[in-house]
C-alpha cells in the first residue's frame, strides 16, 4: 500500500534523552517484526540548519525523519508566521523528510502563549480559518503536511459539528493527510464521553499518514495525555481496532518525559508492533472474531 508519505513502519519520537537508546536499537535490530523505520523530531527543538548528528546517522541507516511542528498555531486566528514556516521548510529539506506534521490547534492568541496545544471551537468560522492557514502552510512546505487532532480537557461551547466531521472536512478541503493520535482519541472519547470506534469509522482513514501512540494517566477523574506515563491498555485496544480497519503506513511511540528504562521502552515498542500485527490479522480474516467489540 503506497501513499504520499511512503511506508514508514514502526517509529519513536526522537528526544535527546533517548538518543542513545534509539541508536542502539537501530544498530542491533535483530527482529524484522519491530525494526524501527522512522523517527519524529519536534521541529522547534532542533536547529534546522544543523540538526543533531544522530538524526543524520539514523537517516544513513535508512530511517525517515519526520519534523513535527508544535508552534505554527494553525488553528489560531492569525495567519501562520512566515519565519516559522520557513524554519519548518528548511528542516524538512535538510532532513529530506517524506512529510511534516503539525496540529489542529492554537498555541497563542492576543499576545499570550499557552505553552500547550489548545483545541479550536468546532464552528464554521474556526474551520474556514484553519483551512486558510493550512493552505498557506502547504504552499510554503516542500512535502505533504499531516495534521494531528489534539487531546483536549475542555470543550468549546457552541459546537456546530462533531470532531470526526470537523477533521474530515478540514482534510477534504485542504488535501492534508491525517496524523491519527490514538491516545488523543482515547483521551477525548473518555473525557467527553463519545464512541471512539464510531469516530474511527467517520474519519477518512484513506488519508492516514501515520499514527501516534502515547501514554497518559488518570487524575481526578480525567484522563491526561501526558506522554510521561506508560501506554494504557485502552489505547492499545484502539490501535488494534484501527489496524483491523486499515493498514497504517506508520505507527509511532511518543514519550516526552519521565523516561523509563530501556527495557520498558523496548517492551512498549514490542507491544505496539504486536498489537498492529493482531489488528492486521483481524483485517485479513474478518470473519474470525473480528470487529465485534
Amino acid at each position: 500500500m503506497s501513499r504520499d508519505g511512503g511506508e514508514l513502519g514502526l517509529g519513536i519520537g526522537w528526544r535527546g534523552e533517548i538518543a542513545g537508546f534509539i541508536a542502539d536499537l537501530v544498530a542491533n535490530a535483530e527482529s524484522d517484526r519491530w525494526r524501527l523505520g522512522f523517527v519524529e523530531v519536534v521541529a522547534e527543538h532542533v536547529d534546522p540548519r544543523s540538526p543533531p548528528p544522530d538524526l543524520d546517522a539514523l537517516r544513513r541507516q535508512g530511517l525517515a525523519v519526520v519534523p513535527h511542528g508544535i508552534s505554527l498555531s494553525l488553528g489560531g486566528s492569525e495567519r501562520p508566521e512566515r519565519a516559522r514556516l520557513e524554519r519548518l521548510r528548511t528542516l524538512a529539506e535538510r532532513l529530506e523528510s517524506p512529510l511534516v506534521s503539525e496540529h489542529i490547534a492554537f498555541v497563542r492568541a492576543g499576545g499570550l502563549e499557552a505553552g500547550h496545544l489548545l483545541p479550536v471551537p468546532r464552528t464554521r468560522t474556526a474551520l474556514d480559518v484553519l483551512v486558510a492557514n493550512v493552505r498557506e502552510a502547504q504552499a510554503a512546505l516542500p512535502v505533504p503536511l499531516a495534521l494531528e487532532h489534539v487531546a483536549a480537557l475542555i470543550e468549546w461551547p457552541g459546537a456546530e459539528m462533531n470532531e470526526a466531521d470537523f477533521i474530515s472536512e478540514l482534510l477534504g478541503r485542504t488535501g492534508a493527510l491525517l496524523l491519527l493520535d490514538v491516545a488523543n482519541l482515547y483521551a477525548n472519547a473518555r473525557n467527553h464521553r463519545f464512541d471512539a470506534l464510531a469516530w474511527l469509522d467517520r474519519v477518512p482513514l484513506e488519508r492516514l499518514a501515520y499514527v501516534h501512540v502515547g501514554g497518559g494517566v488518570e487524575r481526578d477523574g480525567l484522563y491526561h495525555d501526558t506522554h510521561a506515563h506508560p501506554v494504557v491498555e485502552g489505547v492499545l485496544h484502539l490501535v488494534e481496532q484501527l489496524c483491523s480497519r486499515t493498514e497504517p503506513p506508520g505507527v509511532l511511540l511518543e514519550r516526552d518525559d519521565r523516561f523509563p528504562s530501556r527495557s520498558e521502552l523496548a517492551a512498549e515498542l514490542v507491544a505496539i508492533a504486536t498489537t498492529v500485527g493482531r489488528g492486521a490479522d483481524r483485517r485479513a480474516a474478518p470473519d474470525a472474531s473480528a470487529r465485534r467489540d
Binding site: 504520499d4 479550536v120 474556526a126 474556514d128 475542555i154 457552541g158 478541503r173 518525559d257
Partner: protein
C-alpha cells in the same frame, strides 16, 4: 500536487471574522494563563483542570531546562514556581529556558519585602547600573516591581531636578493562594478598589 484541493472554491475567512475569532481565543487564554474571568459557556472544572495542567507542564519544562535551579530550591521549587506563574506570563514561544531565567530573576525579587523592593527600585531609577560603577541618571526613569503585599505594583518614577516618586498601585485586592477567579461564588460583591497611595521619599 495532490494536497491542493482544487475543487474547493469557497473564499477564505474575512479579516473581521479572524479578529472576532481571535478575541474568543484570547479570552480563553487569558483565563488559562492570566487568571481572567471564565468566558461564558465553558465548564469551570474543566478549564481549571486545564489551567492546572498548563502550570504543571510549565513547571516540568523549567525544571528540565534548569535542573540545578530546581534542585537548589528543593521542595520550595514547586511552591515558588506556582507563585511565579500567578504573576508572570509564559515567555515568547513558552520557551522553558527563558521561563527558567525569568523565574530565577523573580525568585530573587520575591525574597525581598516591599521596603527592600522600593529601595531596589530607587536605585534603578536614580542610577544607571551595568558594567562598571553605577552612575546617576540624566534623563527620566521608570522602574517597577511586584508588591509583596497584595497583587499590586511598586512603581518608581524619577525626573531630573524634580526627584523620585514611589507609587504603590494595587491592581486588585490581595488574595491568598486561594481559588482562581472563575471559582468565586456568585453574589459576593467585589471589595472597593484600593486607593493609590503615594508618598515622597
Amino acid at each position: 500536487m495532490h494536497q491542493r484541493a482544487a475543487t474547493d472554491t469557497r473564499t477564505g475567512p474575512e479579516e473581521r471574522e479572524r479578529v472576532a475569532y481571535g478575541g474568543l481565543q484570547a479570552a480563553l487564554l487569558r483565563t488559562l494563563v492570566a487568571d481572567a474571568p471564565l468566558p461564558e459557556g465553558f465548564a469551570p472544572t474543566r478549564v481549571r483542570a486545564l489551567a492546572d495542567a498548563l502550570e504543571r507542564k510549565r513547571l516540568r519544562g523549567a525544571a528540565k531546562a534548569w535542573p540545578g535551579l530546581a534542585s537548589s530550591l528543593g521542595e520550595r521549587f514547586a511552591e515558588l514556581f506556582a507563585d511565579y506563574t500567578r504573576h508572570c506570563l509564559p515567555p515568547a514561544d513558552a520557551d522553558p529556558v527563558a521561563d527558567g531565567i525569568a523565574f530565577a530573576t523573580w525568585v530573587r525579587t520575591a525574597t525581598l519585602d516591599d521596603r527592600a523592593r522600593q529601595e531596589l527600585l530607587l536605585v534603578r531609577a536614580r542610577y544607571v547600573t551595568g558594567s562598571g560603577r553605577a552612575r546617576l541618571r540624566r534623563g527620566p526613569a521608570v522602574a517597577a516591581t511586584r508588591s509583596l503585599s497584595g497583587r499590586g505594583v511598586l512603581l518608581v518614577v524619577g525626573f531630573p531636578d524634580v526627584g523620585v516618586k514611589t507609587f504603590a498601585l494595587h491592581l486588585r485586592p490581595p488574595t491568598s493562594r486561594g481559588p482562581k477567579v472563575w471559582n468565586r461564588s456568585p453574589g459576593v460583591a467585589s471589595p472597593p478598589p484600593r486607593r493609590v497611595s503615594r508618598f515622597r521619599l
